[in-house]
Symmetry: C2
Subunit: 257 residues, 2 copies
């Protein structure tokens, strides 16, 4: 069998602890090419760079892993990998992460990690976004690697090959504290922000964005938030048709068609 | 009746021609507060600014319109409006646009215009993203203003108030060339990129991202792409649950639950 080729990317940057954990997962399954942002790109969603040139830098090479740093967004990195660096070659899997911080619930929409995973799936490739609910730079990725490997193995070696995109979140804690994996739906809720106002030395006011997640359905047991709160790994399969079909029916004729 | 309060934002920046067209639509329905990016934020998706302070600047004031420039993303602008500038006040509608360029099909995911509209809808407020399929800085917004007004009137004065988010795209052309409005679903397709490679004066290679949209279903008459190609205004109602429910059923038990 031909060796698998796995693309790794993330939004915390090419030298984060989390991407080393993702590469650690990926190399168990094949040859790894990592193309990741030069700088932190958290919260970059599915952003693309339209009006700036992008710089590519080959950071390191060994017999199983190449690492590139790219000056764009996580989605730019995926595009660079598929449409330039590995153009014409089959990529078997995209792993995005492991993110320092949760991407459950509505965070999937703001997340650069998930933006990159979604972009990978657009190329017809299975894509797994991996996140750990721990923002700290020195987070313990032991459990995330263990469960990441389990999910990736199931995707690559499961009963049917699916062109899927998965949003996988792992709760903090040692592996033995985690109760297993739950396949879930995206929790409903949103972020209510608070802006911290300050003045800079020149008297101009500036703001820091900071917020709190409001969970609209804390008791729903089939959501990713519930799973994480109860020490399960959450797996949400992702689709990208934003059409509201229920509303589509309601709106027929509304605009004078 | 209390005067309506309408938030206008965009991704092309506070002084683009398109936002002036959006303000022109909005002022027909109430008092307008525009909070828009200082600089071009095209392709910024639903990105938020996590690691930089943000500067707010009051650009202009007249009896009906206030304009603020904010140094963040389109979504940051919406959050600033709801959670700081107009905290505690009822905002009746968000208009995002009018974008210089189409946001049909999968572009809804990359679009800063639609990122802002979606964010507005998270606050329980109806939100309309308006885009014109013309990228040029001096695009003719006459038809977009006309149809934008028609859609907004229907949202604000229609038979039922809906907490909805609409992705409205207007084809280029004079109003008399446009055949009406169609309520559509999001077209399936994606962008295949080509990277233009150059060298800077110091010999470092850099890339420009450029691409071509590949339409996977050019003949489907119920999509936004079809509507625009046939000179209709497309209206796609937007939802934000990314869960793939069909796949969710398929995956049950897959990960050893």
């Amino acid at each position: 069998m031909k060796e698998r080729l796995i693309l790794v990317t993330n939004d915390d940057g090419y030298d984060s602890k989390g991407i080393r954990a993702a590469i650690d997962v990926a190399r168990r399954f094949g040859r790894v090419v990592a193309v990741a942002p030069e700088t932190v790109q958290s919260g970059m969603s599915q952003a693309i760079t339209m009006y700036n040139p992008l710089y590519l830098r080959h950071v390191s090479h060994d017999e199983q892993v190449d690492v590139y740093a790219f000056s764009g967004t996580p989605v730019d990195c995926v595009k660079m990998a598929f449409d330039y660096l590995m153009r014409g070659r089959r990529i078997d899997l995209v792993i995005s992460g492991i993110n320092h911080g949760s991407n459950s619930a509505v965070n999937v929409l703001y997340s650069g990690t998930m933006g990159a995973a979604i972009e990978g799936s657009f190329y017809g490739c299975p894509a797994v976004g991996l996140s750990l609910t721990d923002h700290s730079a020195d987070a313990d990725f032991t459990a995330a690697v263990l469960y990441g490997e389990r999910v990736v193995r199931s995707v690559l070696e499961g009963p049917e090959e699916l062109p899927l995109c998965l949003n996988v979140n792992v709760p903090t804690g040692r592996p033995e504290e985690i109760r297993g994996i739950r396949t879930c739906r995206q929790n409903r809720g949103f972020w209510r922000e608070e802006f911290f106002r300050h003045e800079d030395p020149r008297g101009r006011e500036y703001f820091w964005l900071t917020g709190e997640f409001v969970n609209w359905e804390p008791d729903a047991e089939d959501t990713d938030e519930w799973a994480l709160a109860h020490k399960y790994v959450s797996v949400v399969p992702i689709q990208t048709d934003m059409t509201d079909y229920r509303l589509l029916e309601k709106l027929r004729g509304r605009f004078g068609e």
